[in-house]
């Protein structure tokens, strides 16, 4: 457990002896990684920081924290809004060797109170929020990955046409490496999906991975920082829309997508979007199942790991069983119905 004095000593060692932690708070839910909001006194001025470290036994998402840090660092120099990255520490004593990254706290919230209120005014507000998110995604997806340095450390598909195949191969490798069960039905679902991989994409974009409600920092209904980059990847921008947690149902989906397309200057293929909606269900199995490994080894024997890494994974397996062999648009419709739950499965790995 991290205590205030140890945290204060750590910040003073990194930032200078006049820095003292006055209070800190762990954010909820944060099961994959632990995130703390930290407030400091710096010679009479208050500072605010976000301290993030792996959970005991490792994160749920099978991606190193340093990767997320490098993504944020690369983005900070661009027009994409992110919190200022301050440092990455590979194995500090404070966390008993778990990696740490620290960002400057952004003035805003991941919650938008009243967003789901009844009435025309609230509905218009929801559409505005969806359009703002679309603009931010368009900015991200339009980045030149070579010029911004991402090609140096982000796995790159050979071509835009190869995006889906590349992501499929990457995640099949992760699945084989991390699974705690044979999951033959998930293997069979992979063969089914492999037959339907999209073969076109408008471009290779840096995609955020999980994005939308619950993932970003908002102020006055605008995104001031895109947050949580652990699942960032290079691929088809349509895939990010499949992971846009509630943003396409916030307003009118076509209005939102058309606005995105106008800002981005390229089109999202709706059939690719359908495919990625189903593919993301498949990907949730290795992503969440990875979190069960420290539970089984005894490193992190806590109930959220059990529920996400086992129960939730088996639920996704049930969902795949419902879809396997169906036309992709029909399968995507099943996922869309499923996503109507206010507690969407993609939120599970926060």
């Amino acid at each position: 457990m991290i205590d205030q004095q140890s945290l204060s000593d750590y910040f003073a060692a990194r930032m200078g002896a006049d820095v003292r932690v006055t209070r800190f708070k762990r954010t909820f839910p944060g099961i994959s990684r632990e995130t703390f909001l930290v407030w400091t006194d710096e010679g009479g001025k208050e500072g605010g920081y976000v301290f993030r470290t792996d959970a005991l036994g490792g994160p749920i998402c099978p991606v190193p924290l340093e990767y997320e840090y490098r993504i944020i660092k690369g983005l900070y120099a661009t027009a994409v809004p992110v919190a200022e990255p301050l440092w990455f520490d590979a194995a500090p004593a404070l966390t008993e060797g778990r990696p740490v990254m620290v960002r400057r706290m952004v003035d805003g919230s991941n919650d938008l109170p009243g967003l789901y209120d009844e009435g025309a005014e609230a509905a218009a507000r929801r559409q505005r929020v969806a359009l703002d998110h679309a603009e931010k995604l368009a900015t991200l997806h339009s980045l030149d990955l070579e010029a911004t340095g991402f090609t140096a450390f982000v796995d790159m598909p050979a071509s835009a046409a190869d995006c889906a195949r590349f992501d499929f191969d990457r995640w099949m490798g992760i699945f084989r490496e991390v699974r705690t069960d044979p999951f033959p039905l998930v293997t069979e679902a992979a063969y089914w999906l492999k037959e339907h991989l999209p073969t076109t994409a408008p471009r290779i974009s840096l995609c955020k991975g999980n994005n939308g409600m619950g993932e970003e920092i908002w102020k006055d209904d605008k995104i001031v920082a895109l947050s949580d980059w652990e699942l960032a990847f290079a691929g088809d921008p349509a895939q990010d829309w499949a992971l846009s947690q509630g943003m396409l149902t916030l307003g009118d989906a076509e209005t939102t997508l058309r606005h995105y397309e106008e800002v981005a200057g390229f089109r999202i293929d709706r059939s690719s979007l359908d495919f990625y909606r189903v593919w993301e269900v498949w990907k949730a199995v290795p992503t969440l199942n990875n979190g069960l490994r420290p539970f089984l080894s005894g490193e992190n024997p806590r109930v959220p790991r059990l529920n996400l890494g086992f129960g939730r994974v088996k639920l996704f397996e049930q969902l795949l069983a419902m879809m396997i062999g169906k036309p992709i648009d029909e399968a995507a419709h099943i996922v869309a119905e499923w996503r109507k739950s206010p507690y969407r499965p993609e939120n599970a790995a926060n």
């Binding site: 839910p29 996400l308 129960g311 088996k314 049930q318 069983a321 939120n347």
Partner: protein, 157 residues
């Protein structure tokens, strides 16, 4: 008469719901209690039927995999491991944990055979075995559906 495991789990759940949940306003504590509630629901669905389910499922798998081995003339270590162990275990009374371990081995064999069948796609024998394996996969998912659905639907943490 002894209370059943289901009744005892339900009593634990009721105690938490009636006396603990209303007194908790911390987000982490509420989340922990939700997780415990889900696990208790899962156990109430799973404990009474898991043994018979695994026995039935593994018996079917033993017949399916023995037939697949003959039809494919394929030497697969995971398949051999399952088929050498299954008859003795399934013949008499078996502990649930032993049935779980056997079923796990059987599903490893299914996984290996799926890859084999897909690699031989178009071959009549491989396609026929694949169709049988596919049908069994859906049946297996249906057999354990009640352990996870709707138990794990809803807020994940």
């Amino acid at each position: 008469m002894m209370p059943t495991t289901q009744q005892m789990l339900a009593a634990v759940q009721l105690a938490l719901q009636e006396h603990v949940a209303p007194r908790i306003d911390d987000q982490w504590a509420q989340s922990a209690l939700r997780s415990v509630d889900v696990i208790l629901n899962h156990l109430q669905a799973r404990v009474p039927v898991e043994g018979p389910m695994l026995h039935e499922d593994s018996c079917e798998l033993a017949a399916l995999l023995a037939s697949a081995q003959t039809r494919l003339s394929h030497d697969e270590p995971a398949l051999n491991a399952f088929l050498s162990e299954a008859p003795a275990l399934l013949d008499g009374y078996a502990r649930v944990d032993a049935l779980q371990a056997l079923n796990h081995k059987g599903r490893e064999a299914v996984d290996a055979l799926l890859h084999h069948c897909h690699a031989r796609k178009g071959d009549t024998a491989a396609d026929a075995v694949h169709a049988d394996l596919h049908a069994w996969l859906l049946k297996h998912a249906d057999r354990e559906s009640g352990f996870f659905f709707p138990t794990y639907v809803g807020r994940p943490v």
